[in-house]
Amino acid sequence: MASKQPDRRSFLKRGAALAGGLSLGAVEPLIPQTAPSDQSAEGQSQEIPDYSSDELVAYGERSRHVTSKRIPHGGRDSPDDFGLVFHIAAPLQDSVGVITPSALHYFGTTRGSIVPDIDPAQHRLMIHGMVDRELIFTMEELKRLPSVTRLHFIECAGNRSSPRATTVQETHGMTSNAEWTGVLLRTLLEEAGVQEGGTWIVAEGIEEVKGASSLPTAKAMDDIIVAYAMNGEPLRPQQGFPLRIVVPGFEGILSVKWLRRIKVVDRFYMTYNDYGHLRQDPADAALSYQIGPKSVITYPSGAQQLPGAGFYQISGLAWSGGGAVSRVEVSTDGGESWEDAEFQGTPQRMAHTRFNFNWNWDGSEVELQSRCTDEIGQVQPSRADVREYWGRPRDGSGGVRGQDNSIQPWRIESDGSVHNAIS
């Protein structure tokens, strides 16, 4: 920080320029001094925020004018009476592109959890059980191994829409998408040597409740990442710092955080987390683990307001646990007719994909829907289709059983207000 403060505004702008990638070696002002007349330009606040040098230089803060935030999900307070944090939903209504900022990534735990404060220098990962060589790794050792960086969504099995929900944050906010970096679990398991009959693994965290989940070894050998970074920096504490697994396309509870141990075993272990997801109906159970094809329009979405008739780019997110999204269709007439949306970027496997659809709104009441198809040919069903599958009237009310990957309708009224159109 300069010892004298001739002009805080120019300092602010210089900070922004530095953050934009200009050379740090330059000492002289990097941009011309701002003319006084610019300071009163429309939309520019006259009040200068009191940023500290940490916020400007060491670790950047977002603008105080950006207020997008997470909310507790499902009517359960977080933190609760015990200080435990349960489920917190991401503000998908504000999302652009496919990356969920780390600070806005959804968060969920089964029992609730007090986020542990782990010193990575002390942290260890143990691989044991039905292996030829039990192994224990430091974080440094894990980072020496061949790494992968992949985009993957994580979604809570409880990410369900409902007629009571208003915004897309409430209907779909328990999913997020990040760029994860780490070692394939397969690499570690091959290093340890999985023994014959080791058909399951139990992954366990080090937090106070030692959350653990059973996973098929087939998935572990396919694409599970033992991740130490997200979105270009170490995992956030709520996301498992310093180490977690990311189980691409599977229900979020299986992506065990604060990972300390993987035990190779010969059966489903029925941990507490496993028990919590038990189903009585085989069809219900068959829908668990792998998330179905799913999409939702994030703009325009519930509680947003269109200023009037005219051009809008409809935009949303699509994803599937079955692989990459291969097609997204949009309907502007309540599902009567469908047209292909365009992808923004190349769809990645088990990752959010941004879709856009150019649209001229004539100002009349309409219902918007989106429908995802994935690379293995699964098509996102309507709620009516799902109801019919479960033996209920197509036009009935009530929720859907199993995972809810049904089509989300948004109704735009002639005054431009947007509403959840689920019955």
Binding site: D81, F82, R133, E134, L135, I136, E141, R144, P146, E191, G193, V194, E196, G197, V202, E208, V209, K210, T217, A218, M221, D222, R261, V265, F268, Y269, M270, Y272, D274, Y275, R279, Q280, D281, P282, D284, A285, A286, L287, Y289, P293, G322, G323, G334, G335, E336, E367, Q369, Q378, V379, P381, S382, R383, A384, Y389, R394, D395, I407, Q408, P409, A421
Partner: protein, 196 residues
């Protein structure tokens, strides 16, 4: 990508020796037996990892009063923390109708032991002795009419307890990459339907 998909299939078919190869990177070290013992708190449905120790519902009642009742209620009906005793649904009630209550819904008694051991009591997790965990497990199973009040729970008897849901839960179908989870689910349908 093709070999990635092939490998687990071969492994499941019993070709596990394919994986029994030398380490490629030689990074990491072998944990000591003591390190493994200290960390391995997993309990299989077979109970094979259960430690020595034992307990009864009567012993559990005193521990419960001291360490559990404040949150779960004196009678297990739940207060700030979840209910631990089944709902009264009559003598012929379906076991799934009794509530999402661990010591009655869980298909295996070992899950009850494991969760108390790893997750309770709040803010003092991991402090219960094996005897205390056996005693509390006996109490909860007795409260829910799964075992007799006098039954002694230990590494031999606990895994033998038959929970009402032992065979009443839907096993997860095998998973393989690139497969739909549920054949026949309306994933192939196109055309109308609407969202309503």
């Amino acid at each position: 990508m093709r070999s990635l998909k092939l490998l687990p299939v071969l492994m499941l078919a019993g070709a596990g020796s394919l994986l029994a190869q030398s380490p490629t990177y030689g990074v990491g070290r072998t944990p000591t037996a003591e390190e493994v013992r200290a960390w391995d708190i997993s309990i299989s449905p077979t109970g094979e990892e259960l430690p020595p120790g034992s307990g009864t519902a009567a012993e559990g009642a005193e521990i419960y009063r001291q360490k559990c009742a404040r949150c779960h209620g004196a009678d297990g009906a739940g207060r700030r923390a979840p209910r631990l005793i089944k709902r009264d649904r009559g003598p012929d009630a379906n076991s799934w109708s009794l509530g999402r209550i661990l010591p009655i819904r869980s298909p295996y008694s070992t899950t009850v032991w494991d969760y108390i051991n790893r997750g309770m009591p709040l803010n003092a997790e991991g402090t219960l002795t094996a005897d205390e965990v056996y005693s509390l497990t006996a109490l909860l199973l007795s409260w829910n009419d799964v075992i007799e009040e006098e039954a002694v729970m230990d590494a031999q008897t606990l895994p033998m307890v038959i929970m009402p849901n032992r065979d009443a839960w839907a096993h997860l179908p095998d998973w393989a990459p690139g497969q739909p989870r549920l054949e026949g689910y309306p994933y192939g349908r196109r055309g109308g339907g609407g969202g309503g």
